[in-house]
Amino acid sequence: MRNTRATQLLTELSREGRYNPLLPDCDVPQPPLEELLPREAIAAELLPLPEVAEPDLVRHYTNLSTLNMSVDTHFYPLGSCTMKYNPKRNERLAGLDGFAAVHPYQPEETIQGLLELLYELQEMLAEISGLHAVSLQPAAGAQGELTALLVAAAYFQERGEHRTKVLAPDSAHGTNPASAHMAGFRTVTVKSTPEGLVDRDDLRRHLDDEAAVFMVTNPNTLGLFETEIREIAEEVHGTGGLIYLDGANMNAILGISRPGDFGADMMHFNPHKTFSGPHGGGGPGAGPIAVTRDLAPFLPTPVVAREGDVFRLDEDRPRSIGRVRGFFGNVGVLVRAYCYIRTHGPEGLREVSENAVLNANYLLHRLKEFLPVPQGDCCMHEFVATAKDCKAERGITAMDIAKRLLDYGFHAPTVYFPPIVREAIMVEPTETESRETLDAFAEAIGKIVQEDPELLHAAPHSTPVTRPDDVRAARQPVMRAVAAGENGHEG
């Protein structure tokens, strides 16, 4: 039975005086507050914090947690996000005292094991990327992009070149232009061909002595491998530019194809997608980057260096762009990535990608019975279907289908991305799903597209919160918690 109090706010559960002082009276004299703090630092009245008993507090959070849809409770084919199952063993290993209970100010000789692990992770990521050197510092994929673009800017500056443009395809993740802007570049969009690949004629039009970096995602966001990536890289290099590989889709090519081998000069990894880092939740994350030998001197400081059997943090890097993150990044995520890579080994990682691609192709062929997939019959780790015809014929949108899937017990796929496909439904099943799950998902979509459009417009029907009013939520957001019955509308 659903506990309806689960979604009540703590302020709604609050009753005056309902708390248990658990601490004994203080046994040292307490000076008045006015003696301890300046007058302006003392609030005129106490904050209206909720007052609830411990069991109510525990039930509130525990019940809320059961309402979550996660990869541990549901199939989660969120395209572009690689929501594969994270083995619990990596959580346990990352929680070992030697990793979790160390302090960043501890002397290096007392954390040699951890430094050795990080050093080996640098080496493993260099091997997987086919590039020369790695920085584990960035705290997320997007920060990895920014860091690598700052590295590129430092490289061009040292060469005395004034390059102002970053190029990115119209199918790129939104982080690419955002990172370019933050790094001080101007972004120029490169068109895609009708087949969904980089339009090489359009790219060529933008390649000149102002083009610093071409940011490319390969496989791209349509789940297609840029088959001409080597020729593209040659052309970009021919005009003095660099290739940045957005590594968001590395789950498709591990151990099969290395970015450094197909011409990338720099790239980032998303450990939360590829190497079992925690998904979502706002972090903590990690976005290690790998670069060529020419770019390595500019990597952020510090990197883990090895001298014989001793590992240390190398801060003496005169050409470095400097620090991009406090201490040594989010080490806990890096430990999980190390464990994942070591558990699978080279052969296992290749199998990960082979199965991710196989699952995506199987699901593509099942889903094509119900929804068209404009960019072809064959994909890498994900594909993009369209609800364009459903919308034209019966008024059923991609959003309707996504919301209704929740009623069938599936997390929704990504919708309306990439923007070059109308009514896009972007599906990424990942390698960890069984054939039975993939079949059940395809069959659910098959049923949904036959359902009454009115039922779909109001979906989901079985969740604690049903269809929100997206427009009002964006235009008239209620920015503070309000108790039930109080009018929260602030205009």
């Binding site: 309306y416 923007p419 109308r422 997206d470 427009v471 964006a474 235009r475």
Partner: protein
């Protein structure tokens, strides 16, 4: 303005050009009904201030829907002389009357050359039909 008399950019902006009292060519710029419908429910629009410069093919603002944020591209070169400043509070004007009350900016044209790259109504309608397909 009547949509048949306007010229259109491939990126779905329209422009209608008139000559003002001083003899300057001034273009009123907006987005087409096709664009408004494709964007779905709009939640936010960011427009520049009067006096800003625009370049043909370059972004001069952005419009956000529940689906995505999209750039607005200028069809011409020139200086912005007027901005529809009430639009951001009345986004429904775009769905009700995108060729009238829902105009975005007025631009004093530097030159008429970029107008030659624009589509007339029939050619634009053709492009929309192809995109729809």
């Amino acid at each position: 303005m009547s949509p048949e008399e306007l010229r259109y950019a491939k990126t779905h902006e329209w422009i209608g050009v008139k000559t003002d009292a001083q003899g300057n060519k001034v273009g009123t710029v907006g987005i087409s009904a096709f664009a408004v419908e494709s964007l779905t429910d709009l939640v936010f629009i960011e427009l520049p201030k009067a006096g800003a410069r625009v370049q043909a093919g370059e972004s001069f603002g952005e419009v956000e829907s529940v689906k995505a944020v999209s750039d607005l591209y200028s069809p011409v070169n020139g200086e912005i002389v007027e901005v529809n400043s009430e639009l951001s509070e009345n986004l429904e004007w775009l769905s009700e009357d995108c060729y009238g009350k829902g105009w975005l900016i007025k631009v004093r044209l530097d030159d008429e050359k970029p107008l030659g790259d624009l589509l007339d109504f029939a050619a634009y309608k053709q492009q929309c039909a192809e995109e729809q397909a």
